[in-house]
Subunit: 384 residues, 2 copies
């Protein structure tokens, strides 16, 4: 008898006696007649030449600049892993926003077949249809873990791919930033009334909700935010979170750093792939791409979670004042957001369909997260 | 000029004008002399036969029974993806706990080379050395996202692999259950004094901490818990969370469902691989394995997050009473845990080394999570 076989059999014989310590690892006692699977004697005595897998080159356009290394890096994580898994045969070249198409046209470039794949946020495209908002983040929507649950197991993937299918595009979750911060404010705001007339650099649905409260949303390119904030042309500006924000130096000209960024509770980044190009891939490459997308998804969140505390500590040492949006402001914004969703649903059946599913899901999730997860987190935070 | 080339160039020309909407997707204006990467004309005109990749068969022993489909399923996620990515050439066969070796000997089986890989919890092996606790979960330790940050970016992987290296084993994160529940209690407990003499089915470091508070930890196999709880032989029993707990029916004999399970704030499950076997793998298979482990990690957490709220709702409809561990009980347990760690560190230098890094990291993480993440979650939960 092989040594391994012996050990396997010997171990099996003592299974019943050693089950006591942890029920989770327990199994029913094995039937004595159950065949013991043989351990492999040796790996692959005769290597076989693999069936002809073609060289494939894809281009990936990111919506992000290389300088946002964590969010941009998600695409590199995917491309590097896919390349390594396929011995370099499936080669996805990553371009930053603007190299092939402007960052905000990444999705369109996939639809049109200019590139095979994009790494971008679906909510950049709410101008086409507000339904694009759900894939990334809705104001007061789901957090990072909840988004994963919805996309992977809660029907979100199917709902959204049905929608993206209108553009000959399919999606793969590919990152998350976690809750973003509420941006840099020159002055503090305590009540909803304090928001009236505030000029804030904020885009998308978050800007639309703020507008309902009297904020005047401003569309300003990243490089122009700092001088605008410094001169007082704008009163506030939102960006991402501590790690990305710190490097742009906003804290030097606006000391009040608000939280939470309720317009982005758990923004998911996606890989969008042209369906026609996807269908041409060998099965092995489709599988490699999918696995690497999961990796990019979990790693981006972990990398932000690792970096944000370090950056926030630096910011606080620079004299930044952390400010919490007050309950009345959050409540007013929440109400405005729900009204905006109801209005859009009344005129957009596609939006209505996704909203119904999304909203039901987030309520169920929040009910659960309010129990063990929240109680644990709050207690632990109080001990730190 | 190819149509794609044209579109790419045309789009590039308008890059500067369209940067306004979202700074995050912004890039520096491309230099006019920058070469425009050519779009691939067609995929792989001449497929080339891939270098000889061997057939490899591995056996994976899980510590878990198939009936715990989500935690057991993590190993199937990995094996299925690896198989599909390699065209069936890297074949990892998954066995439930007890089929090859007992669940609680999975790590040893890898060390001894009985199997190439195990899917298990490192804290099952604290009997060898309490340092094994850190890889899974420590009482009052890190939550699921924090564990990912620590393992992937915070130095946790290197620290733990250094330790596992003593056993010729290396590790890959491969799942998480999220915060577990605090178990099923026949009677309520309000103060630390109420814990004295309570017979509770709980193992590992959680049991050791409870023992400091007067609880009498019981080691009882899963199938025996229900009758013991029913007869009153034990007063309480912990298992996992709503999804796994509901199916065992404890709610029929102990109505008080406590939270949070402070002994497991974010238990990580790992794939442990024999280093000698790993070194034999072709690079492509090592890469495939790693990507699939990331996938298993993110999917298990998402699957639990999806299922737990549904199960908890059912439990509540069955008359289960949710009970929160009181602040005095949590505080007493927290204090006992810190003392236990200090005592162990005083006599175990390896434990001391990992504890120092782990403890610093969790404090930094909790400081950050108490800001935007917690405020957002608490507000959203209050609206549900």
């Amino acid at each position: 008898m092989q040594r391994r076989d012996f050990l396997a059999r010997a171990a099996l014989g003592t299974a019943a006696a050693s089950l006591a310590a942890c029920g989770k690892s327990e199994t029913p006692p094995p039937a004595s007649t159950a065949p013991v699977p043989a351990a492999p004697v040796e790996q692959a005595p005769a290597p076989v030449v693999q069936g002809a897998l073609p060289f494939v080159r894809w281009r990936l356009t990111s919506s992000f600049p290389r300088s946002l290394d964590t969010i941009f890096g998600g695409a590199e994580v995917l491309a590097d892993r896919v390349r390594a898994m396929t011995g370099g045969r499936f080669d996805i070249r990553v371009f930053q926003g603007g190299e092939i198409v402007p960052g905000l046209q990444a999705f369109d470039a996939v639809e049109q077949g200019t590139v095979e794949v994009a790494h971008t946020c679906s909510y950049y495209y709410v101008g086409k249809d507000k339904t694009f908002g759900f894939g990334t983040s809705m104001p007061f929507g789901m957090n990072a873990r909840q988004m994963n649950a919805w996309i992977y197991y809660g029907g979100g993937q199917e709902l959204l791919d049905d929608f993206y299918g209108n553009f000959n595009v399919m999606s793969f979750a590919g990152g998350n930033t976690g809750v973003q911060m509420g941006g840099w404010w020159r002055k503090t705001v305590a009540k909803p009334e304090d928001l009236k007339g505030i000029k804030m650099r904020i885009a998308g649905l978050g800007g639309a909700v703020f507008a309902e409260l009297g904020v005047i949303p401003q569309q300003i390119a990243g490089g122009d935010i700092y001088p605008a904030l410094e001169r007082g042309t704008i009163d506030a500006a939102e960006w991402v979170g501590p790690y990305d924000d710190e490097r742009l130096g906003f804290y030097k000209v606006a000391k009040n750093y608000y939280y939470p960024g309720w317009w982005e509770p758990g923004p998911m980044i996606h890989f969008f792939v042209n369906k026609t190009e996807w269908a041409k891939l060998p099965r092995e490459y489709q599988e490699a791409f999918q696995a690497a997308a999961y990796e990019a998804n979990v790693l981006m969140m972990a990398r932000y979670d690792h970096q944000n505390p370090i950056a926030l500590a630096k910011l606080l040492q620079s004299g930044v004042k952390l400010q919490q949006f007050s309950e009345p402001i959050l409540s007013a914004a929440y109400k405005a957001a729900q009204q905006l969703y109801a209005d859009e649903a009344a005129k957009n059946p596609g939006f209505k369909k996704v909203l119904a599913a999304y909203d039901k899901y987030r309520r169920t999730q929040n009910a659960w997260f309010s129990v063990a997860e929240n109680r644990m987190d709050v207690f632990l935070q109080s001990q730190a």
